[in-house]
Symmetry: C4
Subunit: 268 residues, 4 copies
């Protein structure tokens, strides 16, 4: 029983919350450590900083990996207090393969791995930021993030269809442009994948300028494609926008306020 209570206490302390002195302290400590860590990864990539502050950054990395490793172990150990991970062995395994626990592991691993495989995977450390999403469970942001997720879920099919249309448009236009521009610029529109790169960069209107048509027909087609593309790429935005508005209205209905006249709706 003591062990169970200890686990419960550890589990409770490691969940973000600001209702008691120790939870508040641990939450802020973990949040700060995550942010500082990502800052260290970003700054450490700069030549001069990475060289001059090498020892400081490395020391800080050892310290934070130690903290995150300890936290990870404690989390896996104490997860059994949650009903859905209650089994001492399979419960912990199932917790360990849950998306958030896996990203936690991925964020620590790059530190231990270099001794084994010689690839620089330090960029995986930024995955630690994903943990901040747990803040979304706080009451304050909960409702808004739930609304955004709701829109994504309810408009799932419309979004899939619009992405399918976008994909088809990319494949058609890129094979067409490859056919039109390849003879004129064999080194730029080298093959269809390169042409697809052009299609995406044009229809998203990024337009780096590393690849563009030079012959008249190509320019005419690009003009038509870019206007069509603008409308097509606007489809997901329009769907999200319409969905969000509906969600805002539903929220009012949920609060028994009529979105039309602003007066209270009698409960039925």
């Amino acid at each position: 029983m003591t062990k169970y209570n200890l686990m419960k206490k550890v589990h409770n302390l490691l969940t973000f919350g600001f209702d008691s002195q120790p939870r508040r302290f641990i939450s802020w400590f973990i949040i700060s450590l995550i942010c500082l860590n990502v800052l260290a990864v970003i700054l450490g990539s700069v030549d001069t900083i990475g060289r001059d502050y090498h020892d400081l950054l490395f020391g800080f990395e050892i310290f934070s990996v130690a903290v995150f490793s300890l936290e990870y172990i404690l989390r896996v150990w104490s997860c059994t207090v949650e009903p859905k991970y209650s089994h001492p062995f399979t419960g912990r395994i199932r917790f360990a393969v849950s998306p958030l626990a896996l990203t936690d592991l991925l964020a620590i691993l790059p530190f231990y791995l270099p001794f084994l495989i010689h690839v620089d995977l330090r960029f995986l450390r930024t995955l630690r930021l994903l943990r901040l999403f747990r803040l979304g469970h706080l009451k304050r942001f909960n409702e808004t993030s739930r609304m955004i997720l709701n829109v994504l879920r309810e408009r799932r099919e419309a979004l899939i269809i619009s992405f399918a249309i976008i994909l088809l448009l990319i494949i058609f236009t890129s094979s067409l442009m490859y056919f039109v521009e390849n003879p004129a610029q064999p080194e730029v529109f080298k093959n269809i994948p390169d042409s697809m790169w052009w299609a995406v960069m044009t229809m998203t209107t990024v337009g780096y300028g590393d690849i563009y048509p030079i012959i008249a027909l190509g320019k005419l087609l690009t003009s038509i494609i870019s206007i069509l593309g603008l409308a097509t790429f606007a489809l997901p935005t329009a769907i999200l926008s319409a969905g969000l508005l509906e969600e805002f209205q539903n929220k009012k209905i949920h609060e028994h306020i009529c979105p039309t006249c602003g007066q209270e709706i009698p409960k039925t």
Copy 2:
């Protein structure tokens, strides 16, 4: 009678559907073949792959053209079971010139044609993808795609007007900019069609950087044009967005749920 039943069976098997074992198998087989084919066209355009796997890609192409040709012939043969194509001869001709049957033919032809005309029309093979739109007839995606098409149909006039405004804006600004920039950059703003290319690339905000104003007046006009253009090109997006929202609300009404209060609407 036997022949009619066979035609009916063939016709049924060649329509996408997942309700029986053979239809499911044929549907998945055709879908996979279409996707693999497009992938083969894309990868085959890459120098090294096109050379190294030439025989494999060519073999796969022969196989799929055989399948698609057989499918096309069977489709034309069995189309008479549909009431609207019931006449043995004119019905089949009318089926053959329907948009989807034409794209099917266009997708096979490039294989037979090179022996006749020596133009590389292999990019037409990507037209096969259009067939995937038939999946849209499946119940699951039917409603959403119908809603998107509805918006396009109902807002037809508003969309035409906004595209007309866009076209006028392009013609005006490009002839104006030709007048302003041509003396300074005779090789860049060479003529009004080139200037129109600039206008479209600026107002869609693609901005490759191959053509841009360099004199003060041209820059001032471009600034005004690009802000105006942003608002004008946003018009179709706004129309689509507003139309989709209405469609979402209409759907609820259709389901006898009031979009205002979320309660059931009494049938009248």
Copy 3:
């Protein structure tokens, strides 16, 4: 009386309309002539075409200027049949200075002027396209264009405020960036007008690539500015979008259909 009837007949024939044989013929003739003219201006600007077809284009220009001049004179002559231009002299003057009549004049003048002033104002000929807007008075497009104009009028103040915010943002960021980047790139960020050119091209996301920050602080500021700018430039779009949706709903109300439940609204 005969003269008045003739004027009335001429005035009626020169107004776009498709209700009688002669009006239909004249309308289509004028529309075609306008479109062909603009096409001639565009194509005539291309070196090779302008040279090879010089005589044809010049002949066509003389013919159309003759037609448009005649039409202009007839219009001014017959305008007195309209009540608001009824006075024989001042009415005609007031008609001649109305926006559409002025653009008509501007579209013809460049042909007569070269003999006087030696500036190439042929681009003004594209102004003839503005006449096509008169088609907007036709019943079919009337409603939709009225709705778009309504949104612009009703949301006038919101649009003015958002353009004022955009202008302020441009002035601030450009003077700030001039201060930051001028020491590093004195030839690129030469002065504040150049910096404003950068600001507009960045915030509209055109990004030609002829002018961009190279020092760290400038890049950081640009990142913040471009995200802020995206939201600010989205304001007019959002206003238009919201306004159009309202207009669509109002239209239904006007037709006595409740946009909420799709049923008829009892007249009060």
Copy 4:
């Protein structure tokens, strides 16, 4: 009492208003001086103008600094007539540290400072434009600007969340692209901050073309990122758009007009 009345009169005269002859005169004088000043800063930065009209611009600067300094002193002196700044000493201090008074001071200071510190802070003079926001308090624009601010306030959390998602996406994609592209272009994707610059410029679709991926994997990732980025960056726009529409509807409700049927709502 005389002094208090004088302060009240001065305070009233220095607040933008157009209801009496002297207030109208002073308001227009100050507005013109602000606009001319900003124009002088912009034009003065242009080499030739700054040199040729040096004396005129300097004279105008001395004159306007004199006016703005006097106005600033009078404002601080007379602010005690407002109840919330009533205390002769602490009230004035609290007024002096209010945002608008601080920007007023910041706009004058650069003129006096050069004699002390040798940094060119003239760009701070554009801060004077911020004063024009006080025009927003005029009845005409008051309602619209209140509506825009309302949307920003009510959708605060949704906006914060979407900016947090944008920030996370930038950090992830930039560290990933640094990892992918750095080996191929060590001089372009030099470090993660440079990669972040790339990420922002790509996802806002500015795309200057000074930094872009060149290897296949980098291009594939960029394609996915730019489409995802487009949808993510559309989130704030969608939120604003949906919020504005709601605000327009609420306004109608406030005016006791039902947004659904356009009829008057009976007061309860």
